[in-house]
Symmetry: C2
Subunit: 397 residues, 2 copies
């Protein structure tokens, strides 16, 4: 991990140098359950008491932490100064702040980006109280410009971990293709994935209660539903799995489909083949316009229009989200300009970001045909991280 | 899980009925990474878009959530009304709020209790924006009186899970007693615990990078340090492990010690025996005054004075914290009135809360002798959940 956190702290200093923020302050406590999502990027392990992790524009790194938390930070080598306290953080924190004397202090809140919004409201009020009567009380600004980019632009160590998670997920899909059979329920597929993930020592990219999403046939609950204990894979069904696996703290998010021929069917029927082409054309149309500088809504629009031109209904979500520590990694989005997406579709795409490209259509009487690929944005366009699904495999009976 | 969430929602309604808050609002988004820590008490699975989960004083439960999140909430049976939205939460949320028309709306922030502080500052600002121009903008108060007690007072389903986690942890300590030998490093013990936990399908009660804490001898890093790859269990050492394991979402937190006799030693030497008695007397002194209504600092003081009366230095932490979904579960604390503990030591203890009782002393030349037990507060005093360590087992060579 040391390489990853030191890469990210160096990246943070570079982002600060390029911004109007003089000091980036991550202010946290009791991080073992619901801490700031930026923390794992800059620190191995957790923190118990109120802790101030500071990175200055000049690259100086200072941590003021409770006495029992100090040794691992010192051992990491990432922090130039680790200042422990016993009874309360106030004195040491204000001392360090005076020494750095920042004009603008970036703190981790954001209306738009949940992953740059790790400061709790109570901790914000506590910070305001600590700074009362000092000149720093009036110098707090959102660190979103730093944290959002820090999270979304991946370093080499991060990309390597995401690609490792994708390889494991592709192996898991191969297992699913062996296990899934006519008569097997959605829930049985879900449980088999969990058994195998445990065996392989892998985690999940979102809440394991809903990962993977498993859908077979027209009566399945599409979206973020739970797999059914009664719906069985049956002749005529499209069988669809949305799966994210996590490895060494980084995630994948991939959708794959299979077809189960009906009694009188050989191969892929026309309605399923046409849906597959439409979904893939839409994904390709999005990928084609996806490059640094483009606003995400334009990428979504290209895919959306390609799908509609095939005569299908629009999908009711975004074409793509960023992937990193979790499946929905925050930051700019390849999505329509809907209220619920806020400003995220209007933020220009950057090189080094990892996105999904995902959409699907309902094929009447057969089920949901959805695909989800993953790409990394490079200077001239996308590099596919997944091996695209262009054919529809047949589930053997 | 359904039994647990329905028990907790019923408990929330009872707490509301007994409070000045008319409506409890949990306002969250993207909960798969760093969501509100109260969420798993009232909901299975996660939520993607902005979501408003509301419990009224009369026990009415209403959830306004993104369309793809609606089905699992409906399926849980816990929510009387599940209102899905597609483009944005504003209209449906305000409709539901007007129908409930609360005078005081409790939202999840707290300066004192990190586990009642799950609303991010960005989400607070977003909520304020949604409520702008409505009478509800001025009716927001902290839900801490509800959330803190909801989390800390355990229901039967929660207690059963904590006791199951404790049984697994005691089995793990038996394994450690078999595995730990002269010449084995701290890191090897740590790694063996992780292998076994994976085999048993157990999680950890705090960040796995620092769980368990393993210390052998006088040169080990005490506190929240990482296990050493070079320090070996050696003759003359006290060998100490602080371990928390999680099962079905609930945690344990226990410390145990062993002694490794030096070349000329048989049995437990006087300095180690005296330290063991002092630590146990202090734990007993704390347990004796621990009952509903007492303020936590008095429990800590009783233990602290008992330890000092044996001639040892005070411990630099609190005697006990609550345990539940994680090891440090927030809420009232059995700790000294130090700045860093805020008001937590002054909140009266309640029946149904689960606490650790933990402290230790350094025995010069031998290492750290620390013990940590777990109790549940009952109407007339404590019930021990752990089997107390009153003797010092000898690690065989």
């Amino acid at each position: 991990m040391a390489r990853l956190t030191s890469e990210k702290l160096a990246q943070a200093a570079a982002l600060l140098a390029d911004s109007e923020i003089d000091l980036w302050l991550t202010f946290v406590r009791e991080t073992s359950d619901g801490g700031d999502p930026v923390l794992p990027l800059i620190l191995e392990g957790g923190l118990t008491w109120e802790s101030a992790l500071m990175v200055s524009k000049t690259g100086r790194t200072v941590a003021v932490v409770g006495n029992y938390d100090a040794d691992p930070l010192k051992a990491s080598g990432d922090w130039e100064e680790v200042v422990p306290y016993v009874q309360g953080i106030r004195d040491e924190f204000l001392n360090q702040l005076r020494a750095l004397d920042p004009q603008r202090i970036g703190i981790n809140y954001s209306l738009e980006d949940s992953k740059a919004d790790g400061l709790s409201h109570g901790m914000f009020l506590l910070l305001a109280k600590l700074l009362e009567g000092t000149p720093y009380a009036g110098r707090l600004v959102s660190s979103e410009p730093i944290v959002s980019r820090l999270r979304s632009v991946k370093t080499p160590a991060e990309l390597a971990r995401i690609e490792a998670a994708i390889r494991s997920t592709e192996r898991m899909f191969a297992e699913i293709g062996q296990f899934a059979r006519v008569g097997v329920t959605e829930l049985e597929v879900y449980e088999q994935v969990h058994r195998t993930a445990r065996e392989w020592g892998l985690g999940f990219s979102w809440d394991p209660a809903g990962d993977p999403i498993v859908n077979s046939g027209p009566d399945s609950m599409i979206g973020h539903g739970t797999p059914s204990a009664t719906i069985e894979i049956s002749p005529g069904h499209i069988f669809h799995v949305d799966l994210g696996l996590a490895k060494d703290g980084y995630s994948s998010d991939i959708q794959r489909c299979w077809f189960v021929p009906g009694p009188a069917e050989r191969g892929i029927p026309e309605d399923v083949g046409e849906a597959l082409r439409a979904v893939n054309d839409a994904i390709s149309a999005g990928a084609e316009v996806l490059k640094p500088g483009v606003e995400g809504w334009k990428v979504d629009q290209a895919a959306r229009e390609a799908l509609v031109s095939h005569g299908y209904e629009e999908y009711l979500h975004a074409l793509g989200h960023q992937v990193g520590r979790v499946a929905h990694d925050g930051g700019s989005l390849l999505g329509p300009r809907w209220e619920r997406y806020g400003d995220k579709p209007m933020v220009p795409v950057e090189a080094g970001q990892v996105y999904t490209l995902e959409l699907g259509v309902t094929v009447p009487g057969r089920g949901y045909l959805g695909l989800e690929e993953m790409i990394v944005v490079e200077p001239n366009g996308v590099r596919w991280l997944t091996e695209r699904q262009l054919e529809m495999p047949i589930l053997q009976d």
